[in-house]
């Protein structure tokens, strides 16, 4: 039982980091129907911004998260304006290919020696790691911080989308862009805000990832990005609570696969879930099936 609980905590830690990335995927998809493949790389840039904030500028940890979030929000809006906005009315496949291009560009550009460089860097821990025993289960302060910050941001996001005027505008655009525009909503601004918020969450995710797994390099966003994408599909892409649920399930399933089956099957199971969901329930766990407008 202790073993089970311990592995559950390990799985939740992974799941919360996935969740912060998956939220960005799902929000952007919900509004512009685009899988933003560059999202995992925005997450990587967030980790580097956090690294510079802590290691080079000596900022305290909460401020490092803010720096990463603001920087990534700006990057997300910039990417949207430069790469996706000109393609707003192009076929969806064009935007998808552009997203892959942006992703490859960010990875390889930051891999250059005068940007971040290919050499991995040790992410500084602004505090010592402490382990707490809870009835035989061990939990570290790093895990508690990951849980705490992730939950806080998710609650904040839910309130923002559910309770504010901008949030209502976002929901309206996601339901029907043209009608929303007729109602006087500035669709372009709403889309930019969506990219900004999604990217800010990924930036925070990058910093949390950095303190949980303290080494960063320019290709670090690829795998978590893919896993978070699967998580978003699992929960129902475009649905915010679905992304959270899907991510926690992904983290726990991956960990339990390693714990009880075999670690070599870990990724096979993760991507097997994607295939299974697409076959059995393409709209995801929380998705409602609806026929597309013609």
């Amino acid at each position: 039982m202790t073993y089970f609980l311990q592995q559950l905590i390990n799985g939740l830690q992974l799941g919360f980091v996935y969740a912060l990335i998956a939220l960005g995927y799902t929000m952007v998809y919900g509004i512009v129907r685009l899988i933003n493949f560059a999202h995992g790389d925005v997450f990587m840039v967030g980790a580097y911004l956090g690294f510079f904030a802590l290691a080079s500028w000596g900022l305290p940890f909460p401020l490092a998260i803010v720096v990463a979030m603001v920087g990534c929000a700006a990057l997300g809006v910039f990417i949207e304006r430069v790469a996706y906005k000109p393609l707003r009315n192009a076929p969806r496949i064009s935007a998808l290919i552009t997203a892959m291009g942006v992703s490859l560009f960010i990875e390889n550009f930051t891999n250059l020696n005068f940007v971040f460089g290919p050499t991995p860097r040790a992410f500084p821990r602004p505090f010592a790691v402490r382990t707490f025993g809870l009835g035989g289960v061990e939990i570290t302060n790093v895990q508690l911080i990951v849980f705490g910050v992730a939950i806080l941001l998710m609650v904040g996001l839910s309130l923002f989308v559910g309770r504010t005027r901008t949030g209502r505008a976002m929901r309206a655009v996601s339901q029907d862009r043209d009608t929303a525009r007729l109602m006087g909503i500035n669709v372009d601004t709403v889309i930019s805000i969506t990219f900004g918020i999604g990217s800010a969450l990924a930036g925070a995710g990058g910093v949390l990832y950095g303190i949980a797994y303290p080494q960063i390099q320019p290709m670090m966003g690829i795998m978590p990005g893919l896993k978070a994408f699967v998580a978003a599909v699992l929960g129902g892409i475009g649905i915010i609570p679905g992304a959270m649920l899907g991510s926690l399930i992904m983290g726990v399933v991956e960990t339990f696969t390693s714990a009880y089956v075999s670690s070599t099957l870990r990724d096979a199971v993760a991507f097997g879930i994607l295939i299974l969901v697409l076959l059995v329930r393409p709209t995801g766990l929380l998705g409602k099936s609806h026929s597309d407008k013609v």
């Binding site: 311990q6 990832y209 070599t264």
Partner: protein, 378 residues
């Protein structure tokens, strides 16, 4: 007839100018100077350059100076292949030295073997380096180090004997040829020596969470935890292991040897044993002399990679001296004839697969640095 004469004359002239241009003997070096095993590449390059410079100071080979071209592969197989092609096809080097990781050396071995250019491998330990997938020996590829079957067997023997371990947990990188190979060789040797391996788990490249596997190793309470991977990932694994409260004796391979290891792993690595090619405090006079020589040039003691780079370069220089025309094919033959060559890391002879046969050093990470424990043979 006259035209034929002219062609012959032109060919002779061209050949003549060719001779004059090759006043120097071109040698290529491929090493990971950036990326996750950067310290390996830097050390190897430093050691090799030192040997080449010393050879040039002593008059070069056969009256001609060595011209060394260094290329970075960033520990990416694609970059290694690119560098190898450029050196062999465009620069027409006589021989290539490199690389560090098996993943990068394999494409180099293919390219050099196809072009008939000798490749001296300083430090890639996977058996596949000198033997092609179809089982044929790559006759142009030689290495200055032992293989993973050799070091895996030594690590298993040390764990069963000196550490008196009955059970071992193995956690390896399933995306890496070196890690996969060494994990398997260790397991086989450990089981053959009467031990048990209840945990044989892996992680993939790009995965950063090892907690599930480590927690499994913890509840299985194995006597040793064998981690055959390169230092930067091992550092992350052992940190998470200690955070989970796993206190098992750690054991690893030559991928552990880096000045970055204690910095990245902190206290988590202390007490860990690993098999290696060389230890600067091994009590042999050749080692002392080499350590001093290296220190006076680079300001720090040489690690295994620097020593292997140096030994590999010396092997090559010595073979070049026995190949008066400095033609690649001739150098291959000269390398194959090497016998009982006295390198710093030990006497080197090649077995039928072009692998060096020599002793394995066992070293330990302690608070005051890496310390020599013993030398072993399987």
């Amino acid at each position: 007839m006259r035209r034929a004469m002219a062609v012959v004359a032109a060919v002779v002239l061209l050949a003549g100018t060719g001779c004059q241009e090759s006043e120097t003997v071109k040698v290529g070096v491929v090493a990971p100077l950036t990326g996750d095993v950067m310290t390996f590449g830097e050390s190897m390059r430093n050691g090799a350059l030192m040997a080449f410079e010393e050879a040039n100071a002593a008059g070069g080979v056969g009256g001609r100076l060595l011209q060394v071209m260094v290329r970075d592969d960033a520990n990416e197989p694609g970059r290694a292949a690119e560098a190898g092609r450029e050196l062999v096809e465009q620069e027409a080097v006589v021989a290539v030295l490199g690389s560090v990781s098996t993943e990068c050396t394999l494409p180099l071995a293919d390219i050099c073997q196809a072009a008939g250019v000798p490749l001296v491998v300083p430090a890639s330990t996977n058996p596949k380096v000198t033997v092609a997938p179809d089982g044929a020996r790559r006759v142009c590829v030689f290495r200055a180090c032992f293989t993973d079957s050799f070091q895996g067997a030594v690590a298993a023997k040390f764990a069963r004997g000196a550490l008196d371990a009955r059970t071992a947990a193995v956690l390896f990188n399933s995306s890496d040829e070196y890690s996969r190979g060494l994990a398997g060789f260790f397991r086989d040797a450990f089981v053959a020596a009467g031990g048990q391996v209840p945990v044989f788990e892996s992680y993939a490249a790009g995965e950063e969470d090892f907690r599930a596997q480590l927690e499994f190793a913890r509840v299985q309470a194995a006597d040793v935890l064998f981690l055959p991977d390169y230092y930067s990932r091992v550092a992350r694994v052992v940190r998470q292991a200690r955070e989970l409260g796993l206190r098992t004796t750690l054991l690893g391979g030559d991928g552990w040897d880096s000045p970055e290891m204690p910095e990245q792993a902190g206290d988590a690595i202390l007490g860990g044993y690993f098999t290696n090619h060389f230890s600067p405090d091994e009590p042999r006079p050749e080692v002392k002399e080499w350590v001093n020589r290296y220190k006076s040039k680079y300001g720090e003691p040489p690690d295994a990679l620097a020593t292997l780079g140096h030994d590999a370069a010396l092997l090559l220089v010595e073979a070049l001296r026995r190949a008066p025309q400095s033609k690649p094919a001739e150098v291959c033959v000269a390398l194959a004839a090497t016998s009982d060559f006295q390198g710093v890391s030990g006497a080197i002879s090649f077995d039928e697969h072009g692998n060096a046969v020599k002793n394995v050093v066992i070293a330990q990470y302690r608070a005051d640095g890496v310390r020599f424990v013993t030398t072993e043979r399987p």
